[in-house]
């Protein structure tokens, strides 16, 4: 992608990535990290985790972390280009497939493929957690907070927003 405009890099990168985003946005985080931090050096590790945190905290679909990545690369045009490239191709694909395939239940294949994607999605999301954890603060207090939130969210039905806000508050207080 050398020698090309950054906007075009964003469009080709996220357009291609979206076609492989099985299991949605959380499963695409490792690839976003690889491209944005390791390959292109668009962001630092810290900026990437910050973007993930900001996107978690704001309303809207999960996928909008790409808006922040796009902005870091090329400002407002970059933000728009990354968002559209990540969202529009697969949405159009879904539109055409839904017209072709009015009743997906009639065939067994969508069911088989869907079930087959489940373990892959989980593996990808676990990889997301690992990569984000490696990029974040690695103090004892930070690890403790991560673990506690994981435990609380696993055993209770508390609204995740409260846990995010609690994390922010602990950070503000200088505990993490």
């Amino acid at each position: 992608m050398n020698g090309q405009s950054p906007i075009w890099s964003l469009i080709s990168t996220f357009g291609l990535m979206s076609l492989f985003a099985v299991g949605g946005a959380a499963a695409a985080v490792p690839e976003m990290h690889r491209i944005a931090v390791e390959v292109n050096h668009w962001m630092t590790d810290r900026q990437f985790t910050d973007a993930y945190a900001i996107a978690q905290l704001s309303p809207g679909p999960n996928v909008l972390i790409v808006t922040l990545i796009g902005y870091a690369v090329a400002g407002i045009p970059g933000a728009l280009a990354a968002t559209l490239a990540m969202c529009l191709p697969t949405a159009l694909l879904a539109y055409y497939v839904s017209r072709l395939l009015n009743r997906p239940r009639e065939s067994r294949w969508p069911g088989v493929i869907q079930a087959a994607l489940v373990p892959l999605s989980i593996g990808l999301m676990a990889a997301s957690a690992l990569i984000l954890a490696q990029s974040a603060e690695r103090t004892i207090a930070a690890l403790l907070l991560t673990t506690m939130v994981a435990v609380i969210a696993s055993i209770s039905r508390i609204n995740p927003l409260w846990l995010l806000l609690a994390g922010g508050l602990l950070g503000f207080a200088g505990i993490v």
Partner: protein
């Protein structure tokens, strides 16, 4: 990227072999209403506003709000139709709720409806995200903001771990070890070895589809 609770629920449902056969119809049982044929299809502005509302309400997952608005509040679709359309969008690549907006909108009002719903879902939160991006570019290095974001990051990672654990449980409870190996394989190649997603999936998807097909035939026999 928020806590993907909807995904967690959907994937849990799909991990059961009976997902297609019975779960969808039983899910629709508590919502016996027919599609309100008397109601005219919504206008483009109504579609845009409805999806903008779902999107902005969707702190804990947009899908929950989408189902509530489309099936219960506006009655644009029955629960069955909603499930079928969501299953299709989940099966295709890309951000599912975004795919869903396009498919829903276009089923109600053609391609223009699809675009209206898509824009409603994405435009308001994208604008918010751009404001946050600008703020971050200006103030991201402030010590106090650094600390707050570090705390939020830890919590966000904890939430993601919790989702993974919950999703993994039904997989570990089943008797066949192959899906677990596939999950571990993807985790190691993508998470530890940091191989490109495309390369991993081009191998993993055919293998997993083959394994699933084989296992289902074994169960049926």
């Amino acid at each position: 990227m928020r806590f993907p609770l909807d995904r967690f629920r959907t994937v849990l449902a799909m991990a059961r072999p009976s997902f297609y056969a019975s779960d969808m119809s039983s899910d629709s049982a508590p919502a016996p209403q027919q599609p309100d044929l008397a109601a005219a299809p919504p206008g483009l502005a109504a579609l845009f506003l409805a999806f903008a509302g779902m999107s902005l309400a969707g702190f804990g997952g947009v899908l929950v709000f989408a189902r509530r608005a489309i099936v219960e509040q506006h009655r644009w679709m029955t629960a069955d139709e909603f499930n079928e359309t969501f299953a299709l969008c989940h099966f295709l690549p890309g951000p599912n709720i975004v795919n869903l907006s396009m498919v829903f909108g276009s089923r109600l009002r053609g391609i223009a409806g699809g675009v209206a719903a898509f824009a409603g879902l994405l435009l308001p939160p994208t604008l918010i995200m751009m404001v946050l991006a600008i703020a971050y570019a200006h103030f991201g290095d402030l010590e106090v903001l650094r600390r707050i974001l570090a705390g939020i990051s830890c919590a966000a990672i904890g939430l993601l771990i919790a989702v993974v654990l919950r999703m993994m449980t039904p997989l570990l409870k089943r008797t066949d070890p192959l899906p677990v190996f596939l999950m571990l394989g993807v985790f190691l190649t993508v998470g530890v070895l940091r191989l490109p997603l495309q390369a991993v999936l081009l191998v993993a998807i055919p293998v997993s589809v083959g394994v699933t097909y084989f296992l289902r035939r074994k169960v049926a026999a």
